[in-house]
């Protein structure tokens, strides 16, 4: 059943696949980012009470939601690497960590900027904000561990254990606003019920989420390609590739 997947365990095949996919992700994400930004910033109506400054959700919500998705993707890669001992999965996990950390920092900063006028404070130690700050520290820890060892396999193993342990934090972030009383509001968009948002505001937001997802895909592919090259620098196919580029 999974036979078709086997050739991609070879770094060379994966590298080529990433190269083929990259332009699709890059172009579609740029197009959607432009559409989402213009739609959200210029055409979506102002909110009833917050007026114009609610528009920061068009950055805050996509980066916050997807930072957790990236973490789950990273944890999946780590699980695959640990169970099937697939080195490429380590490269993928290492590629995703800084992207997730950037998204988390973005969500924290935009949240603080929004919180200052609307809550009256930019930071409060409630369950949502605190658990989300822990996510940033988890990402930073994973990045640090990836760079702490000379041996890439050992580094990936150490970072992988931290990644898997940190998965516990994801449902805590997600449900913190329901389990405890917090200053942060509960989810606006949820799969199980109708979103608590006017549709003229919702569609640009969903566009932005998709655009961010594609952008993350493109960035992950770029970083994955680099990781594969760095980890296989001594292999003949990488040397051939380098020689080819050098000739141009």
């Amino acid at each position: 059943m999974w036979k078709w997947l086997h050739p991609y365990a070879k770094p060379e095949r994966s590298y080529q696949l990433a190269s083929t996919l990259l332009p699709w992700f890059a172009i579609s994400s740029i197009v959607l980012l432009v559409i989402g930004a213009v739609w959200g910033l210029a055409f979506a109506p102002a909110e009833l009470y917050q007026k114009e400054y609610y528009r920061i959700i068009y950055i805050h919500v996509p980066s916050a939601t997807l930072s957790m998705s990236v973490y789950m993707a990273m944890a999946t890669a780590v699980l695959i690497s640990m169970v099937w001992q697939l080195k490429l999965a380590d490269a993928a996990a290492a590629a995703m960590a800084p992207i997730g950390a950037t998204l988390t920092a973005t969500a924290l900063i935009t949240g603080a900027i929004w919180g200052a006028p609307s809550w009256g404070t930019s930071w409060v130690w409630d369950a949502r904000l605190t658990s989300y700050l822990i996510l940033l520290f988890l990402y930073l820890g994973v990045i640090a561990l990836h760079n702490a060892f000379e041996d890439k396999a050992l580094a990936s193993r150490a970072a992988g254990i931290l990644t898997l342990v940190g998965v516990v934090n994801i449902p805590i972030i997600k449900y913190s606003v329901e389990w405890w009383n917090t200053l942060h509001q509960t989810a606006t968009i949820s799969k199980l019920s109708a979103p608590s948002m006017s549709s003229e505001m919702l569609w640009p937001l969903l566009t932005n989420i998709l655009a961010f997802a594609l952008m993350i895909g493109a960035l992950t592919l770029i970083r994955f390609k680099n990781e594969v090259l760095a980890r296989n620098a001594m292999r003949p196919w990488v040397r051939e590739l380098a020689a080819k580029v050098g000739d141009k």
């Binding site: 109506p45 909110e47 959700i57 809550w119 009256g120 389990w179 200053l183």
Partner: protein, 157 residues
């Protein structure tokens, strides 16, 4: 799956489930301390599970809805007072300072302050709690009638 992979998967799963259970129990036992604020009900009647009541002079946070029509402003300085309520109880909050942008009657707030005699909280900080609803002005207009119906139903009992 071959036996070696199966074994690795089991070990990882067991460690993960064990760790999740530990974290879950810790959070469960700390759940009252993780809550950001007291509700008016908890200030007057005590916490639900422990019955612990805040004492006069205790520094605490209160969260609830601002009662409609309860906001009174002092014309000479920035002193304001308003009533915060939940399903069962209400307490008065006094505060001197600027209220945040999203502070409105009927909206949720969290106030940080000291409990005084007679269920009054002397707040040093008032934060507006935004809810999850984002409304375009036109839609709000259309929904007003619905809201008025709901208000009537609320006040009728």
């Amino acid at each position: 799956m071959n036996p070696r992979r199966k074994k690795r998967l089991t070990i990882i799963s067991i460690i993960f489930v064990g760790f999740a259970a530990v974290v879950g129990l810790v959070l469960y036992s700390l759940s009252q301390n993780i809550n950001l604020f007291y509700t008016p009900h908890e200030i007057i009647g005590g916490k639900e599970d422990t019955g612990l009541k805040p004492v006069v002079g205790q520094r605490l946070r209160i969260g609830g809805m601002v009662k409609k029509g309860s906001l009174t402003k002092n014309n000479e300085n920035l002193e304001v007072s308003f009533i915060v309520f939940d399903a069962t109880h209400e307490v008065t909050v006094t505060y001197e300072g600027l209220l945040p942008d999203l502070f409105r009657e009927g909206q949720g707030i969290v106030a940080n302050g000291v409990l005084a005699e007679g269920n009054v909280i002397v707040a040093t900080e008032v934060l507006a709690k935004h809810d999850e609803n984002y409304v375009a002005p036109e839609i709000a207009e259309a929904m007003k009638k619905q809201h008025q119906k709901a208000e009537k139903a609320k006040t009728s009992y």
